[in-house]
């Protein structure tokens, strides 16, 4: 039995005060709550132990302070992290003695623990409050606004942040499914998995399909090495994804949804399972949702470690329990998807944007970003950079702003050489082109792709030929084997690159490498093969001198290739 909209409102009112308390930034008040990040990165820096230790210390001191688990704040390089509310005082890099220190000094005595406050990398002194940290200055958090603010394992906290009210609105308003599709169309939302297909168009095609059975699949097979935004959304705000799926289901007339998750993300799977169970318990998933005649339920399909399963046709085969081998498109999944029924496949971040678009209106969304790329984009920042972590920025911001302002530049004494975007299907943007705005078309123009949003920063200690070899080894390993050029050609490319990095390459090798890269692109069936050689093509385009140095001078400028280090 589903709860009613007035029950939903009651839950919201009941839990709102404690959330509001967390939004009062920058003033010191008697502490009432401590939020501890327990997402994957912080967990491995001891987030879980910190959570338990804080609880123990608070109990021993007899204080009346709640300790709450949250998702990712984004500043993963600082783990483990705790934020004291009201006021949002940020403590980072907390060691095992830190919990006792925070409990005694701050929670009991009301004084800040100086040695655990954030110290700016650029020597600007301490920052006490979360919002003062330069890392957040150029960000605009829409999808991540709840991540780090609410407990992802408590549906009530999501409801207190207006969660499930977008769903209530579409079910209650006289507007039919067609209006929902139209709103998503007008918002200009494009697929965040990387290719950027207009989401509203996809929904429109699916809604136009005949037949009672349709499916919604959330693609959470984030296989790109160096990308972790989908994981962070699922770990920090799983209900937003479920609500997005519900709205998609209503818009196109589907009754069943599946989240296809990578097995490498056990915590994301666990939190998603909890979220599904809690939503089912309130009747927000199931039959007759919120007293309407709309039925929709969600289940999890587990991926098992195959990069190709991020490709939608391979994903479908995998979700049905087969080997993940792609097939020819058309027919597209919106016509023939799961069990040959019309199926929408949207990326995690795409779906997580939907509730906010419905709540605030498509015009609000379309006002962010650029002409062709609306809204915000989440990027994961890793590699040779001071501030690693997860950021959400308006589309159109330049890569230079991301890398130098938010990321605070390379480690001391290094120079940034390039930024690799789009993972194994993308390419390297050299340092001199970093002013490129981040949107689908501009990135394509410089020979890379938006991709899912992994940014790997490379500096003068990285060898671009070696990096190309790394990506090609990855592609060789992950090729499903259906197309000859992808199965055999990529291995051959790896062999040539291996020779070059060993100092045995010739100028003929370079020519063959380029020809082969184009052949692999032209003769492969799916996106994996078509884009597999991109890292080679883009590094050859921008870093030809490094290839020449390896082949002609028998020298590796970055000093990475051991065989060439004299």
């Amino acid at each position: 039995m589903s709860i009613s909209v007035s029950d939903l409102q009651e839950i919201r009112e009941r839990h709102r005060p404690q959330i509001e308390e967390r939004l009062q930034d920058g003033r010191l008040a008697p502490p009432t709550q401590v939020l501890v990040c327990t997402s994957t990165a912080c967990r491995s820096s001891g987030g879980e132990q910190l959570f338990k230790a804080l609880r123990r210390e608070i109990k021993n001191l007899g204080l009346d302070v709640r300790v709450v688990k949250t998702g990712c704040y984004g500043f993963c390089g600082l783990g483990s992290v705790a934020v004291v509310h009201p006021g949002a005082v940020l403590y980072c890099n907390i060691d095992e003695n830190g919990a006792g220190n925070i409990a005694r000094t701050h929670l009991r005595d009301g004084r800040l623990v100086q040695n655990l406050l954030y110290r700016s990398m650029n020597g600007e002194g301490n920052r006490n409050f979360l919002h003062e940290i330069p890392f957040f200055e150029k960000q605009q958090r829409v999808v991540l606004d709840n991540s780090g603010l609410i407990d992802p394992e408590d549906i009530n906290e999501y409801i207190a942040r207006d969660g499930y009210f977008a769903l209530a609105e579409v079910l209650r308003s006289r507007a039919g499914p067609a209006d929902v599709v139209d709103a998503v169309r007008r918002s200009g939302l494009r697929g965040r998995g990387g290719a950027g297909f207009p989401t509203g168009e996809k929904w429109f095609f699916a809604a136009a399909q005949e037949g009672p059975e349709k499916y919604i699949i959330c693609n959470a097979d984030e296989g790109d090495p160096g990308a972790f935004m989908d994981r962070s959304i699922l770990e920090g705000n799983p209900h937003a994804v479920l609500e997005g799926m519900l709205i998609a289901g209503y818009a196109v007339g589907a009754q069943e949804g599946y989240v296809y998750v990578r097995a490498e993300y056990p915590l994301a799977v666990k939190r998603l399972e909890i979220a599904i169970r809690q939503a089912q318990k309130l009747g927000l998933l199931g039959k007759g949702i919120l007293g309407s005649d709309f039925d929709f339920d969600v289940d999890i399909a587990l991926g098992a470690g195959a990069f190709v399963c991020g490709e939608e046709t391979a994903l479908l085969r995998s979700a049905m329990g087969f080997r993940g081998e792609p097939r020819v498109r058309p027919p597209y999944p919106v016509e023939k998807g799961l069990y040959d029924k019309p199926t929408i496949i949207n990326n995690v971040e795409t779906l997580a944007n939907v509730p906010a678009i419905i709540r605030n209106g498509p015009e609000w969304f379309a006002a962010m970003g650029t002409e062709g790329s609306k809204g915000t984009k989440i990027f994961s920042l890793a590699g040779q950079i001071k501030n690693t972590g997860l950021i959400e920025v308006p589309m159109g911001i330049s890569l230079a702003d991301i890398v130098y302002d938010i990321g605070a530049g390379p480690p001391p004494g290094r120079r940034i050489k390039a930024v690799q975007t789009g993972g194994p299907s993308g390419g390297a943007v050299p340092a001199e082109l970093l002013d490129v705005p981040v949107d689908y078309e501009s990135l394509q123009a410089v020979g890379t792709i938006m991709g899912s949003g992994g940014l790997i920063v490379l500096d003068n200690t990285d060898c671009m030929v070696d990096l190309a070899k790394f990506y090609m080894q990855f592609a060789a390993h992950e090729s499903c084997g259906a197309c000859t050029l992808c199965r055999v050609g990529v291995v051959h490319v790896v062999d040539i690159l291996e020779r070059i990095t060993q100092g045995e390459g010739t100028l003929d090798d370079l020519q063959e490498l380029e020809e082969l890269a184009y052949d692999v692109r032209d003769a492969s069936l799916c996106g994996l093969g078509q884009t597999a050689a991109n890292p080679v093509l883009s590094t050859m385009k921008y870093f030809w001198d490094e290839y020449l140095a390896h082949v002609r001078d028998r020298r590796c400028p970055a000093g990475v290739c051991n065989a060439l280090s004299h």
Partner: protein, 184 residues
Amino acid sequence: MNVEERNYLVLDKIIERYGDRPGGLIRVLYKAQELFGYLSRDVQTHVAEKMCLPVGHVHGVATFYSQFVTAPQGKNVVRVCMGTACYVKNAQDILNRFRELLGVEPDETTADGLFTLRTTRCIGACSLAPLLTVNESVHGHLSVYDVARLVDRYRKEGPDEEVSPVEHKRQRPARDQRAAPPPN
């Protein structure tokens, strides 16, 4: 009833529960691997019979995905992350140090059955690069100098205390199935 028979009973319940859902086979194989430590021929055949699938189909799925293993695993499974962020922070050197110290190649198990060395695809904690997991614990910000310490620690202590019993079982095949040294 011995452990193996009980495991088969548990597996049958799982097959009943997930067998006819989309992607059910993959879930069943996960659970089977959790119960038995790896997917032996017998387990694959059993799953195929119970789910009315050709054995070839089950075997094809079990060998397609990198999460499934068809040979017994060591007591401690070391997975060195080879994602891009880890790679540019010298994950290859860390892997080489393990090869040297343990005397095995990736996907092999040491003769004493204590360690299986594997590589893993990006686990999405790139801020901690380079990293690896031992069983269920993540170790980040590593250098080649940390490897010997880690090996010693797990050689002495075995799997971490906080791992749940089920996960213990996953890492520890029954005594008689301990890995034989690789034939070469």
